[in-house]
Subunit: 233 residues, 2 copies
DNA sequence: TCAAAAGTGTTCTCTTTACACCCATGG
DNA sequence: CCATGGGTGTAAAGAGAACACTTTTGA
């Protein structure tokens, strides 16, 4: 029973960002040890007096200078006893989303990682440990959640054209959707509202009206037993 | 960083069983320590050379002599630094289901727990640690999963009358359902098949035809993109 | 005036809901 | 023959899917 002392507890974060029809994941370059130079998920060991959640937010701040706007526990990886070649480590992985406001990375020098960088989901290099596997699990979770929780909005700016929301769904779910039916469906839920703003011109095409997610309204509907769900043909 | 050595890793299992319109949870009486005599979830510390999953199945065997027929990771509880008053412990909780075949408890004497016992979900006593909270989370997961995964069958005998399946749904979801529509819906999924057996008489009423879940068929449909879902009015 | 993206309604199909009476058995 | 639980169909309403042309802007 005392052997449990020899198991180390780590946290890792899979942070998703979305920009220009591309889904990105945040990675950091390992600064120390035999894995120096390898790209891995941001994360690290949990301190004795901090909660798991605190450990993740601390590591994200230290390693990438980033604050996320959605965070939930994903899964705890601890079945492969040798997933870390040095020690027995179990890792509690967290699923996180940032919107473009928080996208920028602060490069502090006093960090665990030499660099932090965004990688397109289909351009992830071979990572250290089992982190490629962890990203797969997180990607699947993202796909699933998109259908029954309004987390798409956490990946967009506060005000966005409808087409951004639509292409976010097509890109992440890798599936075409009908523009008219999608718009009708989303608007019928009553959690997205029109603003008076039009998008700045992008050089071609008609400017789009901007919309925003009404979180208060969503929470109120939740209390009333409302059930968010988006499905496609 | 070395402080992580002082965090202990435990697993706990929430095992659900269903009998006679009642949902049960398996609890064990703590045998040692200052919590001696308190009811808690089966579980214990993870050994250095075993996977998390192995740890759960080992503990369930040792403490209750039970084998489950569904097991999945639920959540890792580690945000309250003092959830165990003795040490910093994080617990990876597992969600498990048994069917009536595996319901019986073997009372070995060489176990961690003095006793193992089934408690109706609405008759759970005050438990040690944060285990009442953990059960709430597991109960919610059970309710959610029932709607989009055919796990109800893991709580029933291999062959069951339709009314058992139906009352399982009403009991766990705490919601009435229309008998005719429910039967139509389930049968239309094509994963439940009729047997030739009729239930033994229970003293009154017409004997029921028994059905069984066709797991192979379900898995095949899954591969074809099938999506299980049961909703109610 | 052309290219590019935004905006918009209707019809058809399928799924979900609501609802009530007869059947088989044991006592 | 009565009490108990098992078994079944239909119609109405709602949700999802399919589908194409007009509008606004910049170049």
């Amino acid at each position: 029973m005392s052997e449990t002392n020899e198991i180390k507890v780590a946290v890792d974060a899979i942070v998703f960002g979305y920009q220009q029809n591309t889904l990105y994941v945040l990675l950091v370059k390992q600064k120390f040890g035999q894995m120096k130079g390898t790209w891995v998920l941001p994360g690290g060991f949990v301190l004795k007096e901090e909660s798991l959640k605190e450990a993740v937010t601390r590591e994200l701040q230290e390693e990438a200078g980033i604050k996320v706007n959605y965070l939930e526990q994903l899964y705890t990886f601890g079945d492969d006893v040798h997933r870390d070649p040095r020690f027995r480590v179990i890792s509690v992985a967290y699923f996180a989303l940032v919107n473009p406001n928080n996208f920028a990375l602060v490069h502090q020098n006093d960090t665990d990682a030499e660099e932090a960088q965004w990688f397109a989901i289909d351009r992830i290099p071979k990572l250290g440990y089992d982190h490629n596997e962890i990203i797969k699990v997180a990607h699947q979770r993202l796909k699933n959640k998109l259908a029954y929780q309004p987390i798409g909005f956490d990946l967009l700016a506060d005000e966005f054209p409808f087409s951004d929301l639509e292409s976010l769904y097509t890109v992440i779910l890798e599936q075409d959707i009908d523009r008219r039916n999608f718009r009708k469906k989303i608007l019928s839920l009553g959690i997205v509202e029109e603003t008076n703003t039009l998008s700045a011109s992008t050089g071609s095409g008609r400017p789009a009206r901007l919309f925003k997610f009404n979180k208060d309204q969503y929470n109120q509907l939740l209390d009333e037993g409302f059930h968010f769900e988006i499905k496609f043909a």
